[in-house]
Symmetry: C2
Subunit: 490 residues, 2 copies
Amino acid sequence: MQYKLFFRSRRGQKVVFPPPGCRYVSKAAPQAQVEFDFSGPSMKTAVPGPRSQNMSLSQNVGAINFFCNYEESRGNYLVDVDGNRMLDIYTQISSIPIGYNHPALLKLMSNPNNLSTLVNRPALGILPPENFPDKLTESLLSMSPSGMTRVQTMACGSCSNENAFKAMFIWYRNKERGHNTPSEEDLSSCMVNQAPGCPDLSILSFMGAFHGRTMGCLATTHSKAIHKLDVPSFDWPIAPFPRLQYPLEEFSRENAQEEARCLEEVEDLIVKWRQKGKPVAGIVIEPIQAEGGDNHASPDFFKSLRNIARKHGCAFHVDEVQTGGGATGKMWAHEHWGMDDPADIVSFSKKLLTGGYYHRDELQPYRIFNTWMGDPSKNLILAEVLNVIRRENLLEEVTRSGKALLNGLYDLQAQYPGMLSRARGQGTFCAIDICDDATRNSILLKARDKGVLLGGCGDRSIRFRPSLVFKEYHVHIFLNIFNEVLAQHK
Amino acid sequence: MQYKLFFRSRRGQKVVFPPPGCRYVSKAAPQAQVEFDFSGPSMKTAVPGPRSQNMSLSQNVGAINFFCNYEESRGNYLVDVDGNRMLDIYTQISSIPIGYNHPALLKLMSNPNNLSTLVNRPALGILPPENFPDKLTESLLSMSPSGMTRVQTMACGSCSNENAFKAMFIWYRNKERGHNTPSEEDLSSCMVNQAPGCPDLSILSFMGAFHGRTMGCLATTHSKAIHKLDVPSFDWPIAPFPRLQYPLEEFSRENAQEEARCLEEVEDLIVKWRQKGKPVAGIVIEPIQAEGGDNHASPDFFKSLRNIARKHGCAFHVDEVQTGGGATGKMWAHEHWGMDDPADIVSFSKKLLTGGYYHRDELQPYRIFNTWMGDPSKNLILAEVLNVIRRENLLEEVTRSGKALLNGLYDLQAQYPGMLSRARGQGTFCAIDICDDATRNSILLKARDKGVLLGGCGDRSIRFRPSLVFKEYHVHIFLNIFNEVLAQHK
């Protein structure tokens, strides 16, 4: 198949790229349009280079890829200590919202008015700073999911989910009691970890899910054995997540059947666990299972699941730790479902810079507490990130780049049918499957040596997690390099 | 009883304070010696004042004391939005190491070389910044507990303990297996939360303990029912923590008996839980139970407990989240035990600004991972905090202020025997019991209105948690005001 891409030049002309008749190779990618970006990757050594390899760390070094020069990194490009400059489509496990060293953030952090926020970390739950309500209004509350006007900040994604689970348990028990006043037996039994004070309630999760690695979260995480191995857990129900065929629109009948099967299983599990004496207090799900392999489901699936939760009196918790913050082309992935009342709880972290969760009024926060309850210095940065997203229309950019990326992946998939399959995505939140795990890992390393940083997910997927300043011309830089790598593997 | 205090004036003269024959009242407290401190409290309204009361927050507002003006706060004094300036002996739940707006920290955060660390938060486990090894060496590794050369940073105290627990479980299972390679059954069963992959192991904790509020931590927390109520838990063993009599040196025989009783119970529980099929993989304990009421135990108790852990093959985890960072007069409270090999794991957070834990080499970190794994901007601040501690000899100052504080509490206790009892402490990490909960809470509020911020702990204790720049003259300012409050309650 002939590979073709269309995009608009800086002057708005429609350009066919590569020129008709050529294979997919570009001599020079279009220049960067923003001053804080580089023009392309620049590689000096294999990665990790000699300097990185000579550095040591008394922390866990097993997972370290290489050491970075964050001062020199800019926009979409991460620079390492050997001077290699890589187009970053993994962005610190999907956690850098608007690229490296964005001028707006450097300016913000240079403002002497913000010094106090950096050096005096408060116990937010008891002694919030004067400007905290305003910073919340400017940042998190300006993007509240539909139906939610309350938010609780937390320090990281796991703590966000742990506390969201607790909020659901407390809500469920208050509902069971019919009031908020615990009995003497509740109070005494909970001190020694026993029912009824520590009730035998459960959270229903999905195979392939990832909700974090602290012990409550880990009981709902089912993406890789190595995350869970050797850690005691809870006997909580685990439903199948739909295994859809892609492109979704070509398999709508088959996919609807698969989703119906999973929904039926969810209801069966809720009934079964109630009978076992471990009622399901809440259902937790990602809009797109990320660590588990970028598994999608349809808006209809989520609507039905929301209804099942309501029917059985379970809270519905949408975990947007990886999907939230704009990468799907909307601030929240669940906005693609088009619901007024999408969830009871929506948790976030990563690109939002602070962890936390939104909740409906019914899920009272009165007993959710810890020392820091988040970090106002992160809210400060988030407020400015949101200004940049609005000023630079980054959600529209993401939608545009995402289309180019997915179309490019479809084309490459057609070009390398034995190696690539299941290209899928929403916005730039895309993924593609590689024929096997070993080939996937080899491709990741070869792409890195050619100046493109990518991450894996699931058994044999590559996930694309650029920041929100990843433009169409970055897509083409990536596709060129990816094509070269694939051609060498063919 | 006649109240008397001795201290040295700024010119080194020994001063009797108050003058003989007077009650404990001081007209003017000695001036602050450091430029970034105020000379004393200054109250304009009752607390919370009208401005604080008019502010609202869409977060959990139940626990909010008042809103703060952190920009105007300095050293030991927290200023609120109504212009009240309070001597802060609670320091954001014991988490401010060297007071508010320390000039050294303001300078550090104004340095443009540090901007990149503030705006580019890395995924530390895979892509650490170039200077991270040095910052670790300057900060956490310069204060490693005896026997430990490895440290893992985390975002908060709960995550630190959660991951420390996981490290102990993994270590225990590898020991049981005799190697690090899981079986096929381990790998498949853990994906659905079942044994042997998710084994039925336990952590032994103590009544009155506080180790955090995420679900793993919460199973070892037993300080207040309201922390645990309605949250599912694990059936893990809970031993009694010694209920000692104070002053410790006057009740050494009785206290040794009480400690022996608790140690015996620990061994019984370890045996019992092994028989139940839920072996104890680790023991977790605070050097001083803080939230649970500032309960102390002797070095001999901890030495024996360490030996019991070793004898039964359990890991020994010392939780220094509240005690660590200098308030006891040593960087770690466990240093007071005088052991070369005090623990297998020591966790920290709060005053250390970053969470994390040290561990012995045997507790491999290879499967401890999350997105951020801490925050290098906090390590940066910590490195400077440690410079200040050394430069200003703050551990010596703490020891000196702590003596003055405890002596003052002994004197007040003698003066108000019906109201005060069990004055106790190490360094400035002190506490005293009040006759009942209602009186305690009333004293806390009255002290606040007179310009002293204090916190409660346990059922009826007041805990003292000043920062490390709390000097002897601050002790006297506090004692004067506290005496006034007590006199009004008499």
